[in-house]
């Protein structure tokens, strides 16, 4: 159910990105889609009553960096967290580039309305 709500968030973003005619709204739609994907990925790795994937003093079992069984069975999945860290950066980057293009278009055309920005035919 939580997953489906995440997908609903994704669709709201898609709706905004495709249907709205204000350029900033389009960018906002894309940002919402990104949040939805990030949330979805992190949720996939969650374990009920889990621990953050950071090995503390009490989780060590002996020398040589071995971890205790308790930690092994309660830690949440670290892999999606690593992926989301990467996607957040990618999203920030594309946001910066998109906003630069928006500002430049606004300077050239004097509007954010995508229907008025129609130099290119079809």
């Amino acid at each position: 159910m939580l997953y489906a709500l995440c997908f609903l968030l994704f669709m709201i973003g898609l709706y905004s990105a495709v249907v709205k005619k204000n350029m900033v709204k389009i960018v906002i739609g894309i940002m919402i889609m990104e949040y939805a994907v990030n949330l979805f990925l992190i949720m996939l790795g969650y374990r009920l009553g889990g621990k953050a994937p950071i090995v503390g003093e009490e989780d060590m079992a002996g020398a040589g960096g071995q971890v205790s069984d308790l930690f092994l069975n309660t830690s949440v999945d670290p892999l999606p967290q690593a992926l989301v860290l990467t996607t957040i950066v990618i999203c920030l980057g594309s946001l910066a580039l998109m906003i630069s293009i928006c500002i430049r278009v606004h300077e050239k055309y004097g509007t954010f309305d995508i229907t008025e920005i129609r130099r290119l035919k079809g």
Binding site: V18, L79, P80, R104, I117, L120
Partner: protein
């Protein structure tokens, strides 16, 4: 001795990172940067040629899969590396002179190298999330390059391209998340194995649909093509050549066929879907192209149509493979191989001649200052070399016998007849006719006819630009030789085998990675 595969990515990346530093030292610095970038692309081309015929699995950081990321070099990868190497070397050489009309040369070179690095990364990656990361590098660099001129149309096209491209990327990302949620791994070989063990369920087929939409957006297949006719003409000519020549094929066709064939395993439904998408791209692209008067826009529509051919070959192959199932007899396998061979051969042909066409259009635009065909004419005497190379490329794309385009189209027709899809063969011929009409229109309005008053003192471009065009034109003529058995065994057949092998990919990679340890 195995090849250091990371160099395919590391060389362009390091070059790209160096560009802004070197470019900061005034005029001399810019010259050095240009030379360095050219050297890097040529180096990559040499590496790509050296990689032909090898197979290799490289483990990043010496971590065994699925712990770490692996790079995979197989027939299909080396074919794509070859195409990227050829086109990027030519486009970079062309840009030496052409890009002098723009400012910020060092940043252009940097973005160009980043795009090359991204494409090489996509082609070599054996990990699905890593593929996404490099896809984003290549796409983001191309968004910025489309808007490089900073004029009204260019920014508008760039915005459109960026919105649709980002939506495509996010679809792919959501698909990756679903795949991870269903299989628990990101390595393509392991995903493939997990799918074989558990079968395709609703979540995975939805992920597949997301991949098809996402990569379809990148490949500009017809329901998703809206950005291409704006984006490709707006970019500077060398970039248009890169975009049409290799970018849509690497990010779209290559990634899609890798996922569909090797990871999920082809089925008849997906085969039909690919064929239908391909046919609609071919027909609609060609029909829209005929009506265009903007030289580069016509070529952009023609790109849509030509990518349709590539997908058609791959789709028919997939259709035959999917129909026959896993225990396929040798006769069907031969037909499927023939269809895929046609598609892949058309892919590499198209990347050469379409990039050549865009380079000639850049040459025309640079000399005349316009892209509008109605304002041109009679350039044949003024620009003989441009004219000659353009004619070669047009002949190749239309499919006049000695040139390369003819052979790939012939193979496609034979394959579709063998698959009992006679109407598909008819459509291929019809679209060829449309292609003939549009390139006759180019010849007629640009190079023949009356020379208008304002173009009396047009001069032929010289130096690097002509060198790049002649290089590609020679390749256009020689490409047909790839069908000579010994060369075909080296270049094309391994690539075809990668796709016909299907999900056998997974066991092969896991085995090779095990040996690598």
């Amino acid at each position: 001795m195995s090849m250091p595969l990371p160099l395919f990515v590391a060389i362009p990346l390091v070059t790209a990172f160096l560009m802004p530093i070197i470019g900061g030292f005034g005029r001399k610095g810019k010259g050095t940067a240009t030379v360095l970038a050219n050297a890097a692309t040529i180096c990559l081309l040499v590496f790509a040629v050296a990689s032909v015929g090898r197979t290799d699995v490289y483990l990043m950081g010496k971590w065994s899969i699925p712990l770490g990321i692996n790079l995979v070099l197989d027939g299909l990868s080396s074919l794509m590396l070859l195409a990227i190497g050829v086109v990027s070397a030519a486009a970079m050489l062309f840009g030496v002179r052409y890009m002098q009309q723009y400012t910020a040369r060092a940043k252009y070179l940097s973005l160009f190298m980043l795009m090359v690095a991204g494409m090489n990364g996509v082609v070599l990656s054996g990990d699905i999330f890593n593929l996404f990361v490099f896809l984003e590098i290549a796409s983001l660099a191309s968004y910025a390059l489309v808007g490089f001129g900073c004029e009204h149309e260019e920014l508008e096209a760039s915005f459109k391209y960026m919105v649709l491209g980002t939506i495509g990327s996010l679809f792919v990302l959501f698909g990756i998340a679903l795949v991870y949620g269903n299989t628990g791994t990101l390595n393509m070989a392991y995903i493939s194995r997990a799918i074989q063990q558990s079968g395709v369920n609703a979540g995975l087929s939805f992920a597949l649909a997301l991949f098809i939409v996402g990569f379809g957006l990148k490949a500009a297949m017809v329901p998703f093509h809206a950005w291409l006719p704006d984006a490709h003409p707006s970019a500077p000519a060398p970039i248009s050549a890169m975009l049409s020549g290799v970018l849509i094929k690497t990010l779209g066709v290559y990634a899609l066929s890798r996922i569909v064939f090797n990871v999920f395993g082809i089925s008849e439904t997906v085969g039909w879907l690919l064929v239908v998408l391909a046919l609609s791209s071919m027909v609609i692209g060609a029909l829209l192209a005929i009506g265009q008067w903007d030289l580069k826009r016509l070529m952009a529509y023609s790109s849509i149509s030509q990518v349709g051919y590539v997908m058609l070959g791959i789709g028919i192959g997939g259709l035959i493979l999917g129909r026959a199932g896993p225990d396929i007899d040798s006769e069907h396998l031969a037909w499927a191989s023939l269809a895929i061979l046609g598609g892949l051969f058309h892919l590499i042909n198209h990347s050469v001649y379409k990039s050549l066409l865009f380079l000639t259009s850049g040459s025309v635009q640079m000399s005349t200052g316009t892209r509008e065909m109605r304002e041109m004419g009679g350039l044949a005497q003024k620009m003989p070399l441009t004219r000659a190379t353009c004619t070669v490329a047009s002949a190749a794309i239309v499919g006049i016998p000695p040139f390369s385009g003819f052979w790939s189209k012939l193979i496609l027709v034979i394959a579709s007849v063998q698959a009992h899809l006679y109407w598909v063969a008819a459509i291929i011929l019809l679209v060829s006719l449309c292609t003939l009409i549009m390139y006759l229109k180019v010849q007629r309005h640009v190079f023949l006819g009356e020379l208008p008053e304002n173009l009396q003192n047009v001069k032929e471009n010289t130096g690097c630009m002509v060198a790049a065009m002649v290089f590609l034109a020679c390749l256009c003529v020689l490409m047909g030789l790839l069908l000579v058995p010994s060369l075909r065994e080296m270049v094309l057949t391994p690539a075809v085998e990668v796709l016909t092998n299907g999900v056998g990919y997974s066991t092969q990679i896991i085995e090779q990675a095990g040996i690598g340890n």
